[in-house]
Each structure stands twice: as structure tokens, then as C-alpha cells.
Amino acid sequence: MRKSEPLPLSGRDFIALNHASFIADKEFMVDLLESLVKELRKQAPGSGNGPRILLTGSTLAQGDYKVPDIIEEAGGRVVIEEFAEGIRPYWEEVKLEGDLMKNLADSYFMQRVPPAWFRPGRERLNFLVDLARDFHVDGVIWYHLMYRESYKIESYYFPDILKRETGLRMLTVESDYDATETGPLQTRIETFIETIRR
């Protein structure tokens, strides 16, 4: 549904739902998600036509909503995320036939797109390019935490790959969860959103 236009729900709401799924009772969560899907299908088309953003990086922890909030306040729309704790485990399902432990290991280590500290790291970067295309994004915001060196290093050469493969631009922002960084982040993200706005 997030591939579509207009966007049925905000990225910020989706992130909150995803984080809630970590701690909520599973049966409750499944019921809630099913009713939400029905509701979203019935509701009037969502408003907003700001740039569609792929938000990626190292970690988007529960409660760390500074960057997605700034993006949406600046008129951007987060249409897909790719984080170690985010949506990554949901792209494939563990097979329930045969050796379950083997299936679990296969899911964790072979099927799932690896994080940046796995080498070679190209699989995840190619996956990001695919996400950018599939979700029709207008720009990529790469958000990693200070001292996550694997992501830092990838953030240096991924913009060239992204530009070459999709023509899209990327903004890299970094955080050490310091409250004083909000202003500079706001300036940089707002500027980026303005530059990619169609």
C-alpha cells in the first residue's frame, strides 16, 4: 500500500506501528493491523504530495523519531524504511516445512538482506536501489548513529551507486542522540527536501 499514490498513511505512523509490533501481544497486533488495512482501504485518499523519501541507515530505535518528524514537517513523505531494527526481517518468511532450525538459520543468514557490517556489503546496497525504484522515491535520506563505522563507510560510496542506478540524490545525516543537533538536522533535511521537490 505504501508504494501507491496517494500515500495511505504517513511514514511516521507506519514506524510507530512497526515499533509497537515489537512489544505488543501478537494476536492483538494482528487484529489491529488487519482492521487498519481495512480502514485504510475505505478511507478517502490521503493528502500531501511532497517528495517520497526512502529513509535508511543503521538504527531507528523506538522513541528516536527526530529524523522522520523533521522529514514530514518539512513536507517530505517517508514511504519506506530500511534499518537493522525496522522492516528488514519482514521481507521473507521462515519456511515451516522440514528442519525448522535450518529454516530459521536460512532465513536469518541467507535470505535476509545483511546489515552493513557484513562484507561484501553490496547486497544491501543493491536492495536499497530496488526499494528506491519499487517505492517510486524522489530521494534517499541516510541516517546513521555516530561510530557506526560500517554505515559511515558505506554512506561515502553509496550516493554514487544510487545516482548511477536511479539518478536520485542522497542526504547523509548522523546523530549521537544529542538534543542540540535538532536545529542543524532540520536545516539540512529541509534544504534537501526543497532541492528534490518536483
Partner: protein, 467 residues
């Protein structure tokens, strides 16, 4: 015909004939390194300030590093295929690869640049800055050794390799920087992964599966060499190399023995020139280094006989982990506080326990040797702590230990505090945990560390008098 660099090269032990024979190579190298007449003046003063140039063996060691530097810089121009390995390194695979094919340059370019552009020319900063501008920015605790390598590649100083070996059995940041090489230069990388999964207290034992896994990774490396470089690794080459290697390390251990004299006869920076040369390169550096050590031994013996030394007789004796690769003034500063450094922890060798499992492949045997023997680093955090304490007990008369650890090296930095506690509890030897940077002294200069070392030195002197 003399040139602006002749005096410096002679200071570094080169003979006139050697300079004449290599003049075109020297000039091409210095041009690429952007080294001119003013740099020679700086280098002359820097070398004289930090190295004991009254010892011909020391000068020859500096010269050996310069010869290795020239071979590195010109490797591609001279039609050689190139393999780079990363630090900290398991040395034998690189040596095997080098010995298997003539015309292949195999070495650790970052360490070579630290010892030459840093220790000799005091001009490493532009290379570090280039590394910072090309993927490894400052302020992120990224490895300076890797900044040197990336910076030198970005500046076109060193040639992109045909293949690189990632030491991911020890370090994840370095191997991620290998990804950078793969993306920018298309370099094929062989990631040699390991599993440092030993419980606290488990040393020297370890799960045999660790050696099997790491060994399989080395065997994959040898397969990759065949695929990428086009030649097979000749395991019999090891037998051919062993006499040279044994001779080199045998002579090096003689220097370690001589360093146990009181007063300590030469600075630890001179010994480091010899000990790291053997792990940073596989070619001319080793051959020239071996000759230099032969010259150095009688010179040090003479000093011992004459009771000459770099510290006063009876000075507190400290063990450090390893001197800076790039800045000899740091160890000189430690010695100038009145401390004697008879040996570095990574130079202490203990007899490893016999193997518990007979491994069938070369890769497994190399892996088993590194985990079981070595200096504990490749075993585990506990292995490192245990070995540091064991080293202090093995080398008699050590009054203090300076755990001068690389602040941005995850494996050695994360153990710094537990290591200090472990060493002090097990040995009673006071330990100073000293954050530093082995390749970049811009933030960790001798001046910045002096206050802490002086305080430690005063404490050791007082303690020695009291005891």
C-alpha cells in the same frame, strides 16, 4: 652526480653505489610522494632527533624501510602484480603468496608509509587528510592505519592492488574499508573471517572449530589467489623461506636479549624498526632488514659491554605494547621521563602449548598456530589480558606496564580497563592504560601524553626507591 636526497639516503644507511644504481627509481618515487629538497632537511632533523644515527645498524634499518617503500610505490610501474594485506596481520599467508610467484609485490602499504613518510619524513599528515576526505572522515574513531592506506591510494601515491586480504578475523572496521577499495578501485577482496569466541578464562585452550573455520578461510584465500592472480600458492615455498625467516627472527631475539641489559642499550624505537619490518613486507625489506640487524647486533653488544644506554642504570623498566608506527617521538618522550623500555609486549614469545588436534590443511595449521601461539590478540580478549600478564612475569625486572592501546581499534580498546585490572591483580606490576594512536599523532602527540607518563614515571621511581 649527487642530488638533493643523497645526504638523507646516506644518513639512512644507503651506499653511494646503491644510490647511483637506483637513482631513476628514487626520483620517480620521491616525485610521486611530492618530496623535495625542503623535505630532506625536515627528514634529516627528524631522523637525527628520534633515531640513534651513530649506530650503522639503525641507519641501515631506516634504509631498508626506504627500499621497501620504493618497491611499493613503483610496483605497478614495474609490471608487478600486487597483493595488499591489512593489519594486524597473520604473516604467513602473505609470505607464502609472495614466495609462490616472482614478480608479485605483497605487503602492508599503510605500515610501510607510517614508517617512512611518518618516521623518516614527518610528512604523513597530508596522506591522513586524504584518507579523511575519501571515505574515512575524522572524528569517527576510524582506524588511522586505514586512513593512511585510503589516503595514499586517493593521492595516487601507492598503486591500487590486484587483490587485497582483509584481516576480518580481528577487525570489522578495516574489512569494511576493504569494501571501499572494492567499490572505488574494483579490487577483489578476500575476507578472512574468524571467530574470537572464547569464554573469559579460556586460554590457551580454545574450541578446535575456531581453527577449522579460520583455516578454511585461509584455504579459500589460497584458492582466490589462484583465481585472481593466476598462480597457485606453493606450500613448499614455505620450506624455502624458513631458513631466512628463522635467521631474521633468531637475530631479532638476540637484540631482545641484549635489550635486557641495565642500562637498556638502545631506544625501543630502533628495535621496532626491525621487528615490524618483518611483518609489514615480504620482499626486499626483509632481506635488507636481515643485513641491518647483523650490523646492529655487535653495535649493541659493544654498548652493553661499555654500560652505555638510553636511560640511567637502575631506571624503572617498563613494558609497552608497541611503539607508534609513525611517530618515534612518543617512545622517545617515555624514555626521556627516565623510564627504560627493554621490550615491547608484542615481542615477547612464550612456548605455545602443543596442538590438541592434528590439522590436515595448510590453512588450518596456520590458523591453529596463530590462535594457540602468537601474542594472544588473535585468541580472545582474555587471551590478550592473560598474555600481557604472562609476558610481565616472563621478562624479569619489569617495574611498570604501559598499555598504550590504539583508541580506535575495537578489539584492543575495549579490553583496556579490564586488562589493567587483570595485569595489576595477577602480577602486582602497576599498569598505565594510555590511549594513543599508532598511525596518527595529531591528537595523541608526545606532548599531549607527557603529563600522564611523567606522573606514572615519578610513581615508579618512588616505588623503586621504596622497595
Amino acid at each position: 652526480m649527487s642530488n638533493y636526497y643523497d645526504d638523507l639516503l646516506q644518513l639512512c644507511g644507503w651506499e653511494i653505489e646503491e644510490i647511483e644504481n637506483e637513482r631513476p627509481r628514487i626520483e620517480k618515487t620521491f616525485q610521486r610522494l611530492e618530496l623535495g629538497p625542503e623535505d630532506m632537511e625536515t627528514a634529516d632533523a627528524w631522523v637525527r632527533q628520534n633515531h640513534d644515527v651513530t649506530l650503522m645498524g639503525v641507519r641501515k634499518l631506516l634504509g631498508a624501510w626506504l627500499k621497501e617503500l620504493i618497491d611499493l610505490i613503483l610496483a605497478k610501474d614495474e609490471g608487478k602484480k600486487i597483493v595488499y594485506y591489512s593489519f594486524p596481520t597473520v604473516v604467513r599467508p602473505g609470505m607464502l603468496i609472495a614466495a609462490s610467484a616472482e614478480g608479485t609485490y605483497v605487503g602492508g602499504p599503510d605500515v610501510i608509509l607510517c614508517h617512512t613518510m611518518g618516521q623518516i619524513f614527518n610528512k604523513l599528515t597530508p596522506i591522513l587528510e586524504a584518507g579523511e576526505e575519501n571515505g574515512l572522515p575524522p572524528g569517527h574513531a576510524l582506524c588511522s592505519i586505514w586512513q593512511v592506506k585510503v589516503g595514499a591510494l586517493a593521492k595516487g601515491i601507492i598503486p591500487p592492488p590486484d587483490m587485497a586480504i582483509a584481516s576480518s578475523y580481528f577487525c570489522d572496521m578495516g574489512s569494511k574499508a576493504d569494501d571501499l577499495l572494492a567499490e572505488i578501485y574494483g579490487t577483489p577482496i578476500e575476507y578472512v573471517d574468524g571467530t574470537m569466541d572464547s569464554a573469559w578464562g579460556e586460554y590457551p585452550d580454545y574450541l578446535p572449530e575456531r581453527a577449522e573455520f579460520l583455516g578454511a578461510q585461509f584455504n579459500q584465500l589460497f584458492d582466490k589467489v589462484k583465481e585472481v592472480m593466476g598462480f597457485e600458492v606453493d606450500f613448499k615455498a614455505w620450506d624455502k623461506m624458513m631458513p631466512t625467516i628463522r635467521q631474521y627472527f633468531g637475530d631479532l631475539y638476540r637484540i631482545f636479549e641484549l635489550m635486557q641489559a641495565d642500562p637498556v642499550p638502545v631506544s625501543s624505537v630502533e628495535v621496532e624498526l626491525a621487528s615490524i619490518l618483518a611483518v609489514a613486507c615480504t620482499g626486499r625489506g626483509i632481506a635488507e632488514g636481515a643485513k641491518a640487524i647483523k650490523i646492529l647486533i655487535p653495535e649493541i653488544e659493544k654498548r652493553v659491554e661499555e654500560n652505555m644506554g638510553v636511560a640511567e642504570k637502575g631506571a624503572p623498566r617498563v613494558m609497552i605494547v608497541l611503539p607508534s608506527f609513525s611517530d618515534p617521538s612518543i617512545v622517545r618522550m617515555i624514555e626521556n621521563t627516565g623510564l627504560a623500555i627493554p621490550i615491547c609486549a608484542l615481542d615477547v614469545r612464550v612456548q605455545p602449548p602443543p596442538p590438541k588436534v592434528q590439522h590436515n590443511t595448510v590453512g588450518e595449521r596456520i590458523a591453529d598456530g596463530e590462535i594457540r601461539g602468537g601474542v594472544g590478540l588473535f585468541h580472545s580478549s582474555f587471551g590478550t589480558c592473560h598474555r600481557m600478564a604472562a609476558n610481565l612475569e616472563q621478562v624479569k625486572g619489569i617495574d611498570g606496564f604501559i598499555y598504550n592501546y590504539q583508541f580506535n581499534c575495537r578489539p584492543v580498546a575495549q579490553v583496556s580497563h579490564s586488562l589493567k585490572r587483570w595485569v595489576e591483580e595477577k602480577t602486582g606490576v602497576p599498569c598505565l592504560s594510555l590511549e594513543n594512536d599508532i598511525g596518527d599523532s595529531r591528537s595523541y602527540s608526545a606532548a599531549a601524553m607527557r603529563t600522564r607518563v611523567e606522573t606514572f614515571a615519578e610513581m615508579l621511581k618512588t616505588r623503586k626507591v621504596a622497595n
